[in-house]
Amino acid sequence: MNRAGHRRHAGANSGVGTAVVGAGVRHESAHLHVTGAAPYTDDIAVPADTLHAAFGISPIAHGRVVALDLAAVLAAAGVVAVATAADVPGENNYGGILHDDPIFADGEVQYAGQPLFAVAATSRAAARRAVLRANLRFDELPALLDVRSALAARSFVVPSKRIARGDAAGAIGSAPHRLAGSVTMGGQDHFYLEGQVAIALPQEDDTLQVHCSTQHPTEVQNVVAHALGLSAHAVNVQCRRMGGAFGGKESQPALIAAAAAILARKTRQPVKLRLDRDADIQITGKRHDFVADYEVGFDDRGRLLGLKVMLAAGCGYSADLSGPVVDRAMCHVDNAYFLDHVEIIAHHCRTHTVSNTAFRGFGGPQGMLVIERILDDIARTLGLDPLDVRRINYYGVGARDTTPYGQRVEDNILEAITDQLLASSDYRARRAALAAWNRTSPVVKRGIALTPVKFGISFNAAHFNQAGALVHIYTDGTVLLNHGGTEMGQGLYTKVAQVVAHELGLPLSAVRTSATDTAKVPNTSATAASSGADLNGKAAQAAARVLRKRLVAHASAKHAVAPGEVVFAAGRVRIGKHDLSFRELVSDAYLARVQLSSTGFYSTPKIHWDRSRFNGRPFFYFAYGAAVSEVAVDTLSGETQLLRLDILHDVGVSLNPAIDLGQIEGGFLQGVGWLTSEELRWNAKGQLQTHAPSTYKIPSVRDWPLQANIRILEHEPNREDTIHRSKAVGEPPLMLCISTFLAIRDAIAACAPDARELPDLRAPATPEAVLTAIDRLDFRALPLAEPDKNRRRTDRRGTRVSVP
């Protein structure tokens, strides 16, 4: 096997003579990806005595464990050890915020799929087979399986929260128009292609080396240490790359690593735990499903006068990250719109289902979908173009610019984005053409929608907004970079290496990034909240600047030139009249005993947050974007097709436009999956029925639109001092998908004789959901798709409130 020596096909990556920052260079591992030479955690060579683990899981949603008899499991072929809650030497918990997530259920099971025990065996197949032999008995308890039931039972994982400004009830009461309605949206499985996996390798003196596919090595380190009763310095966690994560490897990997570590401790052998796809989807958390009820008052032009929103998030059995997820949902109910008199109440519903967790957008998409649906309802009620209603409600510049949580929107560029996108997409003309077209097409209907995104960047919890980096220069002039951020495909390693190469005037090929490692950069935050490049780029830049400063000091002293006359560019250094290669300067500095290694640190300025008052400046800045989707809906089958997509998205000054484009496109389509084909279905017993790609349908290649015009906004540097004035790009584009969902709704509305109908379209808009929404339209006769006369119109749909 030829794993080594694949020739680097550098292309644009040589970097010599070109700007490294801002160049669309390829992903640092692209040549490894395409040759199968990029090792993921499961590909790491392990010692011959490595054991393979599997979880035994609860088949029921809620109950007391009466018997956990593992004799037959232990007797199964190849089994070396089992571990239950009783085998956890330290704390049986992997919950990061509240300690309410047991590694192994202890006495009570709280969701179907919850780990009860784990097996270590000589092969993965033996472990998977053995866990099925457990003799489990339960006293079943009543289970709450959906958000509405939990809401009715006031079953919450953390206390409810409220933001209020002005007099929402009064403003609604005196508004010329009022509307009330509900929005229902499903959750989403991450479906990273690489499932959860960890390897625990016992080391000398009871220490442990852990390889884990994780966005949060530090949390894995802490959870493993606590579970084993070890100190943090006895556990080292490493991750070179993940095969996708999307938030699903923020808090969840700690469970996997802890179980592997507990078995490794018990057997004194290395243990690998890799979940198969079904176990992964059943055991690990997902995007929160939400329901929202709203009341809104507005004027004749659709301007919002007062708004009350009740959000209820399906959190599952434990808190996990639900508190912060719901905070972000609350902070994004405004999206791009000024909400003068507003009240947002949010509930964190505890259900007997898997504990939902971080997922790209982190509550933001759910909050945003609510307001976008409301504005769509308002526009339809008034018979206006939804875009006009949106624009009249946009945040102002210098006025009407304060969010419900008290942060001023100082960098609003949505008017410019909307104008550009309107022109480039020809929205108005196409909208008119569609209306005419729909009148002549009885079966296929088309719809169009433009929706904006304003997404707050920074962790809501201020202390997470810090990062560290470590940069070494070797005497041959090459650079090894390490930082606390993890690589999950988003191109973080590439971008940060570009930053470091830029600081030292080196070609990108001179900078290599080593695996994220808790022994190199400690106490890191999760690579999450789109913050990876912002935080780690700044930290690495700081480290590189320290090194450059030392080299400048050395060169200016030695050659008696002013520091300003030492210039690094294209792998060379000009020192007054001298011209050296970087390598020559470095060798020289080494001989002069200059330290060629430095750490760097960054903490985001300006941000503050008062949790108790739900007020402050949680976000350093906002990222913006807008999208126009045009869809066709087959009203016989309910199937939909995205025909054309136009996106204009803000990334500030791009560090790497090729990578940013990939984030925009990929985030968008992932969002489309959430709102169209990805449907999580549980049966009446609370068992998830869609736990494999055969039943859970993420977008496939044909779902990319037939025509797509994706553009990065130009000439809009971040107004804040971010790394090279760039903006975060991981999450914001996902929410551009709302345009697709509302375009489908627009097409459904075109079925009704009365254009003011409010289609009751739930998310995801599966063919069945689309057909159901068509059925529920109040139409006298649809030419071909016969309405089901027996179907009751639901009370969940938007209902008009009579004007006083």
Binding site: M1, N2, R7, H9, G11, R26, H27, A30, H31, L32, H33, V34, T35, G36, A37, Y40, D42, A45, A125, L193, M242, G243, G244, R277, R430, V443, V444, M488, G489, Q490, G491, A632, V633, L636, S637, G638, E639, T640, Q641, L643, L661, G662, G666, G667, Q689, T690, P693, S694, T695, K697, I698, S700, V701, R702, D703, P767, L771, L784, A785, D788
Partner: protein
């Protein structure tokens, strides 16, 4: 299992070693002893060879991360290369074939293959985990098609999931890969070299491969004898379902008899207006032959699973499996297909719809096997259509699948066959609806009467794919669609036909 021995320097005599799996990898003959019968190609690559470029994403043939390419002699001096899912393909079934993995493509100097280089240049990998599978699917297309169009690329990639990119750059890579200079290794010319066929010829066997728990008879006589001796054997064809029994259901398999090497069963015969498709014919080849006759089924053929599944799986396997949601059956039943069942030298045949007795129960008797399906050829007087509705267009299992075949004489329905999948415990005809239609004028009112009769034909269930309600509604809508498509001036019925501004 013994470690593979690389025997390139010591060629085996043809026909030797009936207990040793032999295949070609990177130009060398691999010989593997003591192969467990249910060992998958993927596990062999990763766990035995430490060749970890090929990934497991789902272990059910649905995500494509495990895609590899299999080369098979189709004539004496030509190798045909096709993508398959290595996660559900048993190693013993690649005996006599050439295995190409993602590690095989770059040349020995490390120069990337055009497929790989195009993927790099188009920024088509992000996390990279699905990438080897995409590379291999595109590689199979590269060998087959010098200048693929966008639609070819999309069709080729229907079985590969990517969660990062949104697919656009991968599509671009597929569309541009043909424009790169010919590679030193794995150009189309290189793939067609006589030496490759010769190497494969050298490992073809005359005696059946016979492992513990696995027999691959070479002809029907050997097959019937083996099955007669051990009627409880598991008949394995493409393994795209049986593979899941191993990887997902963790079942112990009965000793397997593999149909893939039975020469007589690998044939498609065309005779007197009928197609006879043998039990070992892949879905790819079977659908190609059927669509040549029945062009109306082209979309169904394309939406049937994915290219790698169709390359391994067989049409008769889909039939014998008896799944209520198999997508081939409604169309075959509507066309009036019959199946040929064989035991020993005895052969009987029956209409396909009579084969299904109940949920996962068929008319197959002990020691009997489905030898072939007989599909009537085109009848210009019969209008045929099949529709499949599912949450996703590509690689999805239908909520409902329907097929219609109607003959209209003088404006009246002379005969009609309507079959549905997903509506009952078995694929079944809509006999009440059919009975209503026969003799009536071909009109909207007649169709609505037939729609009403569907309620007497079916009581579908609710499951994760669709509710009973939706299924009933879809069944009706499909019948209406069939009518509309045949009306004098049909309205636009397909979202794919919309012209985008």
């Amino acid at each position: 299992m013994n470690a593979a021995t690389d025997t390139a320097d010591a060629p085996l005599a043809p026909g030797a070693a009936t207990d040793e799996v032999r295949f070609v990898l990177d130009g060398r003959i691999m010989s593997v002893l003591d192969v467990p019968p249910a060992l998958t190609v993927l596990d062999y690559l990763r766990e035995h060879l430490g060749r970890c470029g090929t990934k497991e994403g789902c272990a059910e043939g649905d995500c494509g991360a495990c895609t590899v390419v299999l080369g098979e002699l189709d004539t004496d001096d030509h190798v045909r290369y096709r993508a398959i899912n290595s996660c559900i393909r048993f190693l013993a079934t690649i005996d006599g074939k050439e295995l190409v993995t993602v590690e095989s493509l770059a040349d020995t100097d490390g120069n990337l293959h055009p497929v790989q280089q195009a993927m790099v240049d188009k920024h088509a990998s992000q996390c990279g985990f699905c990438t080897p599978g995409f590379v291999m699917s595109l590689f199979a297309l590269y060998l087959e098609n010098a200048a693929p169009r966008r639609e070819d690329v999309i069709e080729c990639l229907a079985g590969n999931l990517c969660r990062c990119t949104g697919y656009r750059p991968i599509i671009d890579a597929g569309c541009s890969m043909g424009t790169y200079p010919e590679p030193a290794r794995w150009s189309r010319a290189d793939a067609a070299l006589a030496a490759r066929a010769a190497l494969l010829r050298s490992i073809q066997r005359t005696d059946a491969l016979h492992l513990s728990g696995f027999l691959a008879p070479r002809n029907v006589e050997e097959l019937t004898t083996a099955l007669g001796d051990a009627p409880q054997s598991l008949l394995l064809a493409g393994g795209t379902d049986v593979g899941l029994w191993v990887t997902k259901h963790l079942r112990d398999l009965a000793p397997m008899i593999y149909l893939g090497e039975v020469a007589e069963l690998r044939q498609i015969e065309s005779d007197e207006g009928f197609l006879l498709i043998g039990a070992a014919v892949s879905l790819t080849d079977a659908w190609r032959a059927i669509v040549e006759q029945h062009r109306e089924l082209a979309e169904l053929a394309q939406r049937f699973a994915s290219p790698p599944v169709r390359n391994s799986g067989t049409l008769c396997g889909n039939i014998a499996n008896g799944s209520p949601i198999g997508d081939a059956m409604p169309a075959l039943i509507a066309l009036g297909a019959r199946i040929e069942l064989r035991r020993g030298n005895g052969v009987r045949d029956m209409p396909l719809e009579d084969f299904y007795l109940g949920y996962q129960r068929t008319a197959l008797e002990a020691g009997e096997f489905v030898a072939a399906v007989i599909v009537p050829g085109r009848d210009a007087d019969v209008a045929v259509a099949s529709y499949k509705w599912s949450k996703r267009i590509d690689q999805d299992i239908s909520a409902v699948c329907a097929a219609f075949a109607v003959r209209i004489d003088d404006g009246r329905v002379a005969s009609v066959r309507i079959a549905y999948g997903g509506m009952a415990a078995v694929p079944a005809r809509a006999r009440h609806a059919e009975a209503i239609l026969v003799g009536l004028p071909w009109s909207r009112d007649t169709i609505e009467a037939a729609v009403a009769a569907l309620a007497r034909d079916f009581t579908p269930i609710s499951d994760m794919r669709a509710s009973a309600d939706y299924r009933m509604r879809a069944a009706a809508q499909m019948l209406r669609r069939f009518f509309l498509e045949r009306s004098a001036s049909p309205p636009l019925l397909r979202t794919t036909q919309v012209q985008v501004a």
